[in-house]
């Protein structure tokens, strides 16, 4: 009965579409959000997850349905339909993925822009032109617009990061602090200039949804604005030797006054404004 199988197909496609979108919107696979970058990332993730879930469930359903519906018993020697192709169908399933991919591309460009990926690096706080005229500096994602008004006016806090086998060192030029832990005040835009002493490492904080390689001979920039107080792992994500798995540190996001306390305790310079 062609009618009942058409009905079944309709039900399956509805289930696939609704189920896929539901999964994409409701299944959370990500850790907490702790930077201004992270909610933007999660928005992108939800969209990609929904599209992906619909596509995957759809293909899965099509394969399983065909295998059940069109299975034959071993004695049956008949052939199937002599269907060699169907031009309009083929154009259709070239066009649909092309449109989906185009949409994904444009949308993720927008996300990238909102994360600050397209901003020229000179505006990110470091005076790169003056500081490293001899070197090209890449990176710079994470300096997107920040929600809180306070931080909009605040100049980014500059931190120099040095990576080496198998540790990160954080240097605060303002107070001449060198620390093995990264302390940052909540809501304050941070701009880090990173360089490696030996091999390639990578700075990754999953709760910030940000990663940037730390490269010998070529400084890189990473910006972020922490939004949630807490302690989060800093993880080296690029194979850098036997102790690569142990190359970790912690970023401590603190309320402004706690940060100031830490800063004053560790600073070697006496800074009058503080």
């Amino acid at each position: 009965m062609p009618n009942s199988s058409a009905f079944l197909l309709l039900v399956i496609s509805l289930l696939v579409t609704i189920g896929g979108i539901w999964i994409g919107q409701n299944v959370n696979l990500l850790p907490v959000d702790a930077s201004s970058n992270a909610p933007i990332y999660d928005e992108l993730f939800k969209v990609l997850f929904s599209i992906g879930a619909v596509l995957f469930l759809g293909m899965l359903a099509a394969v399983v349905y065909s295998l059940i519906r069109f299975q034959k018993n071993p004695e049956d020697l008949e052939d199937g339909l002599a269907l060699e192709g169907n031009l309009s169908l083929e154009i259709f399933w070239t066009a649909v993925p092309a449109v989906v991919v185009l949409f994904v591309g444009i949308y993720s460009y927008d996300i990238y822009d909102r994360m600050g990926g397209m901003q020229p690096l000179q505006t990110n706080g470091h005076d790169h032109q003056a500081m490293h005229q001899e070197q090209r500096v890449w990176g710079g994602i994470g300096a997107g617009p920040v929600e809180s008004d306070m931080s909009k006016i605040a100049a980014p806090l500059k931190i120099d990061v040095t990576a080496m086998q198998f540790a990160f060192l954080f240097h605060y030029p303002q107070g001449d602090i060198i620390s093995g832990e990264l302390h940052v005040p909540k809501g304050q835009p941070i701009s880090m200039r990173m360089e490696s002493k030996d091999v390639i490492h990578a700075f990754w904080v999953p709760e910030f949804r940000l990663k940037q390689d730390v490269i010998p001979g070529q400084p890189t920039i990473l910006n972020f604005t922490p939004t949630k107080a807490g302690r989060y792992p800093i993880i080296c994500a690029e194979l850098c030797g036997p102790y690569h798995g142990g190359m970790r540190s912690t970023v401590v996001v603190e309320e402004a006054d706690e940060y100031k306390e830490w800063f004053n305790k560790n600073t070697k310079e006496v800074i009058s404004e503080l």
Binding site: M59, P74, D76, E84, V101, P242
Partner: protein, 556 residues
Amino acid sequence: MTIAIPPANENSGKSLQPKGLFRYFSFSLDHKVIGLQYLVFGFLFYLIGGALAGAIRIELTSPMSDFMPRDIYNQVLTLHGTIMIFLWIVPVVNGAFGNYLIPFYVGARDMAFPRLNAVAFWMIPPSGLMLISSYFITGAAQSGWTAYPPLSISTPAAGQIIWILSVLLLGGSSIFGGINFIATILKLRRPGLKLMQLPMYCWAMLGTSILIVLSTPVLAGTLILLSFDIVAHTGFFNPELGGNVIVYQHLFWFYSHPAVYIMVLPAFGLVSEILPVHCRKPLFGYTTMVYSIMAIVVLGLVVWAHHMFTSGTPPWMRLFFTIATSFIAVPTGIKFFNWVATLWGGRISLNSAVLFSCGFIVNFVLGGITGVALAQVPFDVHVHDTYFVVAHFHYIVYGGSVFVIFSSIYHWYPKFTGRMLNENIGRLHFILTFIGFNLCFAPQHWLGLNGMPRRVAEYDPQFTFVNQLSSVGALLMAISTLPFLWNVIQSAYKGPIAGDNPWRALTPEWLTSSPPPVENWAGKAPLVTEPYGYGYKTSSSKTGSKPQEELAEEKQ
């Protein structure tokens, strides 16, 4: 079916070749012998690579580094990746099935350059042995299969140099093979056989061989420069001597992204051969399939920097490679829709070959979806170099290529040996592999998203349970090879006799005895112009195939 005859080449010298099992250990020039040499040798290395994977999964059952020393762990990891790519998947999907099938498909009695072919195969055992022995003699390379400098310059030199030499040899072998396939497909076609009448696997191998010939020399050059940096202390990639580490990454991925298509395009071709036979239907959309292969070849050459989104890449480059990479999904998608359309309305025998092919479709779709997500820069900056990427590429290379290799073994084993495999054991093998594979790799997506980087021997204790789940999956995969091995070994002696064409297939390798004679056909080579002509009903019967095109006269 019209048959036209190129005369058997009497002067080929192959009558002097050894006979019996011994010929598989000889410098045989017979493309079928060479194909099976690739297959069996590749499978041995698959077992070795699998054992190494087992060691990795054992180490990762606990958050501490406690099963092996850390530097050994990195050696095991490097060997595992290198062996699986260069000694198992690339040689098997290209060398094994390519050598066995391509001469049949173009209607030739051998490859264009049989001696070069044998040389290409015999370059593999020494390089494989060299790679493995480095572990016992000097300590193997420990900078991963990507060998990024400056890590590869600063780790112990002996192991790294042996790794480079062995990859150079394997790359050379691959280039020789690629040249041979291009020449065979373009020049050795049987008179009367047009390009657009070739079985799809020929197109896949043509595309793959073009990628091999264009990109492998770049890898070779890069690794030679890297070896200079290591032994002669030159400074190409050594920042201390003014070198640039990012240039290495560009050069490496210029080969290694196409390399992923070198591993998967032939698999696409093989699936396109297997499905029509067991669905009793023509391959859906032959022409669009051909064009999408060629589109993948062209696009595949311009997407390499998507592996470098977090290294020193300027914003415009990030954008360009995001878009180029995303668009590969279009021709790839076409192929998957066409395969599902091939299933649709067929009369499907649900045997092991079909199960593994359909398993491939499902797994690869998931790997392709995560691939498109990874191509988006803002998505990738979180998950690059994490277990998410490990999950992505295992869905592609294992769920894709390895599933297709198994499907192909089930499909062509009767031709290779003249005997049938046991279907029930085959299905058991599929079920164990499919469950084990998904249990092993699906949870790794979550691990990566939540903070577990790749290539580590120790991890945060919160990830213990999921890692153990993954290790159970790996154990199932290991167990699944046992029924497979038992099946292929005992069926070679005790399996039911297959006959020439147990699947009632139309492609030319089935129009001869099983196993086929030297020179492939006892008499004339058949002209098959409709390799997928299933389902044409004739007046006398409900089943039948499209008549093969007639030759006006026999041209020679």
